[in-house]
Amino acid sequence: MTAPADPARSRAGRSLLASPAARYWLLIAPALLLMGVFYFYPIGRVLWMSVTVPAAGFDNYALLASSASIQRMLWTTARISVLTTVLTLLLAYIVAYALVHSSAKAQRWMFLGVLVPLWISVLVRAFAWFVLLRREGLINAALMATGVTDSPLNLIWNETGVMIGMVHYMLPLGILPIFSNMRDIDQRCIAAARGLGASRFEAFRRVFLPLSLPGVVGAGILVFIFSLGFFVTPALLGGGKTLMIAEYIKVQILEVVRWGVASMLAAVLLIVIGVLLAMLSRLVNLRKLFGAG
C-alpha cells in the first residue's frame, strides 16, 4: 500500500539501477522505509488491535452504541470541536480580511502577530491561559478588584476554558488558508460591483464573500481535524472534567489499560479524519502545499 513502485523497482535488477528513475527512487527510499516501518506499521497495528483485542470481532465498536460514557465523551468532543471551528473561522475571517486590505508594512506586523504564536510551544500557551483563567488567576483578580464581580468566575476546568485555549491555538491555522485564498481574489471584481451601483456591504456580500468561501471551508475542515484529536490544551484547561477523545484514549491506555477500547476510539478518529481529508482534497489542491501548481 505505502510503496507501490519502490520495492518492485529496486528488485528489478542492477541494470535498472543505472536508469535515472531508479536512482531517484533510491533517494526516496530512506524516508519511505522509515515512515513505512516506524509510522504506518504502528498505525496499522492500532487498526488491527481494534478488531482483535480482547477478542476477535466488532465488540469494541458495539460500545459506540451501548456505552453512555463513550457517547457522552464523543458528544463533548464533537460539540467543542464544532464551536471552536465556528469561532475560529469568524475571528480568522476578520483578520484575513484586514490583512489583504492593509499596506505592505502593516501586513508585515500583523503577520508577525499571527506567526509567532503559531510556533510557540502549545504547552507554554496553555500554561499562559492557565495563569490567566484559574480561580485565583489574573482575570478573576482584575474583575474582582474593579468590582465587576464579587466572587471569582469559573473560567477553567470547563468547556469555556477549553474553548478559549483551543480558539487561541487554532486561530493562526485558520487565518493562513483564508488569507491565501483572499489574496487571489481579483480586487477589480469588487470595484466593478461598486461601479455598477452596489453598496459597500452589498459588494462584499454578493461578490467578495462567495469568492472567499472555498478558503473558509478549507480552513474550517483543517481546524476541525486538528480540534478533534487535540490533546494538550483540552487536557490542561479541562482539568479532567471536560473529557475529549484524545485524553479519553490516554486514560484508557495509561490508567485503566483497556487496549481494545482505546484502539477502537483511535480507529474511529482516524476514519473520521480520513473522510474529512478526502473532502478537503476535493476542495483544495493539496499539492499546492509543496509549491506545485
Binding site: 526516496i28 524516508a31 492500532v46 492593509s102 507554554v124 499562559a128 487561541h168 490533546f231 490542561l236 478518529l269
Partner: protein, 264 residues
C-alpha cells in the same frame, strides 16, 4: 498589488482585526510578568522584580537534565528527519510522477493524523522492541513525525529551482552524488534550513509521544512542564515558559534571516 483595495475597509474592521491579534499575542506575554514575581505562587510581582525563579531553573538538576535530554533528542531526530526528508523531496521533485505525488501525500500523514493515534501504535511497537523509555525510541518517533516539515519546506524551495541546472551538471559529467552536493543542495539550502528549524521545534515541543513512550530514564522538557503544571503551582514554570518563548522567537528570527538572504 495585493493592497490595491486597501484603505477602503472600515476603521471598525481594522481595529477588530488588531484586537484579535492582541488576543493572540498578549496572553502569552503574561508568563514574562509572572516569571519575575517576588511571591511564592503564580502571581504578578507585587513589591519588586525578582529573578529567583530563573536562578531556581538554572540551578536545579532535574530541569537542567530535562533540557539537556530534550536538546539531544531534538538534535538527533532533526538530523535524521532533515537527511531523509531532503532526499525524499528531491527524488519526488525529479520524478514528478503519480507515484511520487502519492509519496508526498503519504508524507503529510503525521501532520494530519492526531498524535494520540500514533502514540498508541508506537507504544505497542516499542513494548515489543524493548525501546520504551530509551533515547533511541523517542528519537525515531520524533524523526518520522518531523519528516513532513522538511519535505514541505524543501519541496517549496525546489519548486523555484530550474531542473535544467541539474541536467546541465549531469551532462557535463558530474556524478549523481556530485550533482546533489554541488548543484542542488546549495541552491535549496534556505528550504533545508527552514525544514531543520521546524523539525527541531517539533521535537523540542513534543509532549504526547513523550507521555506514552518515555517517563523515567528519559524525561523531556515538555514532559517535566506537563507534570509541573498539573502538580505544582511553582512560578519556576513561568521562568521555563519565558525561556522557551525566547528560544522559539530567536529560532524564528534565524529562519526569517535565512529567507531574507535568499531574497537578496
Amino acid at each position: 498589488m495585493i493592497g490595491s483595495g486597501f484603505g477602503n475597509i472600515s476603521i471598525m474592521t481594522r481595529s477588530l482585526a488588531w484586537a484579535i491579534i492582541c488576543f493572540l499575542v498578549l496572553p502569552i506575554t503574561v508568563v514574562f510578568a509572572v516569571s519575575v514575581t517576588d511571591r511564592h505562587y503564580l502571581s504578578l510581582p507585587e513589591s519588586g522584580v525578582s529573578f529567583q525563579y530563573y536562578r531556581n531553573l538554572f540551578g536545579s538538576g532535574p530541569w537542567l537534565t530535562s533540557i539537556l535530554q530534550s536538546f539531544v533528542i531534538a538534535c538527533a531526530s532533526t538530523a535524521v528527519a532533515v537527511v531523509a526528508g531532503t532526499l525524499c523531496a528531491i527524488g519526488c521533485w525529479r520524478l514528478g510522477s503519480r507515484a511520487s505525488d502519492l509519496v508526498r501525500m503519504l508524507m503529510l500523514a503525521p501532520i494530519m493524523v492526531p498524535t494520540i493515534v500514533y502514540a498508541l501504535g508506537i507504544y505497542q511497537f516499542w513494548i515489543d522492541l524493548r525501546l520504551l523509555d530509551t533515547y533511541a525510541g523517542l528519537i525515531i518517533a520524533h524523526a518520522v513525525t518531523g519528516i513532513p516539515y522538511v519535505v514541505i519546506t524543501v519541496s517549496t524551495a525546489l519548486a523555484g529551482f530550474d531542473p535544467r541546472l541539474e541536467q546541465a551538471s549531469l551532462s557535463l559529467g558530474a556524478s549523481m552524488g556530485q550533482t546533489l552536493r554541488l548543484v542542488i543542495i546549495p541552491n535549496i539550502m534556505p528550504g533545508v534550513v527552514s525544514g531543520l528549524i521546524f523539525a527541531f521545534i517539533h521535537s523540542w515541543d513534543e509532549l504526547v509521544l513523550a507521555l506514552f513512550i518515555a517517563g523515567r530514564a528519559v524525561f523531556t522538557l515538555p514532559r517535566r512542564m506537563w507534570d509541573g503544571i498539573n502538580e505544582s503551582l511553582d512560578p519556576t514554570m513561568a521562568a521555563v515558559a519565558a525561556v522557551l518563548i525566547a528560544v522559539t522567537v530567536s529560532l524564528l528570527c534565524a529562519d526569517a534571516y535565512v529567507r531574507s538572504r535568499r531574497g537578496s
